[in-house]
C-alpha cells in the first residue's frame, strides 16, 4: 500500500491540469460515442426520404475527429512527463497502469482512424463541426469500407473491455485512498 501511495503521489507532481481536464472530456465523449453508436445504427438506412442518420452520424464523426486530436495531445503530454521521470516506473501496479494507458491511447487512436477511413471509403463527406470540409483521402471502395468498419467495430469492443478494467481500477484506488484518484480531480 505504501509503495502504491508513494508512486501515485510522485506521478501527481507531473500531471498537468490540462491532462486532467482532457481526461474527463475524453471520458464523456467516449461514453457518448458508444451510446450513440448503439442506437443510431437502428435508424432507417439513408435515402432521399430518410435522413434520420444524417445528424447523429455527422456528430459521431465530428466528436471522433476531435477526440483524435485530444488523444494525440494527451499522449504527447504524458510521454513528455514520463521521459522527465528520473527512474522507470516502480512496482507492479505502477507498471500495469503505464501498460493500461499505452493500450488505451493506442486503441482510441485505432478507433478514431478506422472510423475516419471507413467513412472516407464509404463516399460520405465530412464537414468538421459544420464549418470545415475535410477532404476525402480516398475514392469510394465498398470492400475497404467494410474492412475498416470491422476494424472500427472490433477495436471499439476491445476498448470498451479495457475501459471497464480502467473503471474497476479507479474504484479500487478510490476505496484504497492511495492518492491516485486525487490527482485526476486536482485542478490547483
Amino acid at each position: 500500500m505504501l509503495e502504491t501511495r508513494n508512486s501515485a503521489e510522485s506521478e501527481s507532481e507531473n500531471l498537468p491540469r490540462l491532462v486532467v481536464l482532457l481526461h474527463w472530456l475524453l471520458a464523456a465523449s467516449v461514453f457518448f460515442l458508444f451510446v450513440s453508436s448503439w442506437w443510431m445504427l437502428s435508424l432507417p438506412l439513408p435515402s432521399a426520404e430518410f435522413t434520420y442518420r444524417e445528424l447523429p452520424f455527422q456528430l459521431h464523426k465530428n466528436i471522433g475527429i476531435t477526440l483524435f486530436v485530444v488523444v494525440i495531445t494527451m499522449a504527447a503530454i504524458r510521454i513528455r512527463a514520463l521521459l522527465r521521470e528520473a527512474s522507470p516506473p516502480q512496482g507492479w501496479l505502477r507498471r500495469l497502469a503505464v501498460v493500461d494507458h499505452i493500450l488505451l491511447y493506442t486503441l482510441l487512436t485505432v478507433c478514431c482512424l478506422s472510423g475516419y477511413m471507413s467513412s472516407s471509403y464509404s463516399g460520405w463527406t465530412t464537414t468538421l463541426w459544420w464549418l470545415v470540409d475535410i477532404p476525402s483521402m480516398t475514392a469510394e471502395n465498398d470492400d475497404l469500407n467494410i474492412l475498416f468498419s470491422e476494424v472500427h467495430l472490433w477495436s471499439c469492443w476491445v476498448l470498451l473491455g479495457l475501459l471497464v478494467l480502467h473503471i474497476g481500477a479507479a474504484i479500487y484506488h478510490g476505496i484504497g485512498n492511495d492518492g491516485a484518484i486525487d490527482k485526476m480531480f486536482r485542478l490547483r
Binding site: S42, P44, L45, F50, G174, I175, N177, R186, L187
Partner: protein, 179 residues
C-alpha cells in the same frame, strides 16, 4: 484516523459520482439527440417505404426484413408518443444534462475539499433523482411500446441515485458529527 476514513469516503464517492455522472450525461445527451432527429411529420411518419438497396444491406450486414423494420422502429416511437411527449423529453433531457454537469462539478468539489462539497452533492443527486422520477412518470403515461423501452432503465437510474443520495446524506451526517 477519522480524517483518513473521511478522506477515503470522499475519494470513492467522487469516483462513483463521476462514473454514473458520465454514463448519465451520455444517456441524456443521446435522448436529446434522438428526440431531435425523430420528430412527428418526418418520413417514417408519412408512410414512405424503406429504401433497402442490396449494396447497402451487404455493407451494413443487414437482412431485407431488418432494413424494413428499421422504419417500423421509428414508427413505434412516433405512434406510441403522446403529442406532449417530444417537447417534454427535450426539456427533461436538457435539464438532465445541466443537472448531471452540476453533479460532476460537485465530485471535483469533494476531492478538492471545498467546504459545501457534501451539501452540494446532496442537492445535485436529489435533482437527478427528481429528473429520473419525472421521466418515469412521463413514460408511464405513454403507450406500451415506449413504456417497454423506457421504464426499466429509468427504474435502474432511480435506484442508483437513491442509493447515492442515501450514502451522501449518511457521510454528511458523519462529517458533521466528527467536526
Amino acid at each position: 484516523m477519522k480524517n483518513e476514513i473521511a478522506k477515503a469516503n470522499m475519494s470513492w464517492l467522487a469516483v462513483i459520482i463521476m462514473l454514473f455522472g458520465l454514463l448519465l450525461l451520455a444517456s441524456h445527451s443521446n435522448e436529446l439527440l434522438k428526440q431531435t432527429v425523430i420528430g412527428p411529420g418526418s418520413s417514417a411518419d408519412l408512410d414512405f417505404a424503406a429504401d433497402c438497396r442490396v449494396d447497402e444491406l451487404e455493407e451494413e450486414q443487414l437482412s431485407l426484413e431488418e432494413c424494413q423494420l428499421m422504419v417500423s422502429n421509428v414508427r413505434i416511437i412516433l405512434s406510441s408518443s403522446p403529442p406532449w411527449y417530444r417537447s417534454y423529453q427535450l426539456t427533461l433531457s436538457s435539464l438532465g444534462i445541466a443537472a448531471t454537469l452540476f453533479s460532476l462539478v460537485t465530485a471535483f468539489g469533494l476531492i478538492n475539499r471545498h467546504s459545501p462539497g457534501l451539501r452540494l452533492a446532496i442537492v445535485s443527486t436529489a435533482l437527478l433523482l427528481i429528473i429520473d422520477v419525472a421521466g418515469f412518470v412521463a413514460a408511464v403515461n405513454t403507450g406500451p411500446l415506449l413504456r417497454a423501452q423506457y421504464l426499466w432503465p429509468l427504474l435502474i437510474w432511480i435506484c442508483i441515485h437513491l442509493s447515492m443520495l442515501a450514502a451522501i446524506i449518511r457521510l454528511a451526517q458523519q462529517s458533521e458529527m466528527d467536526s
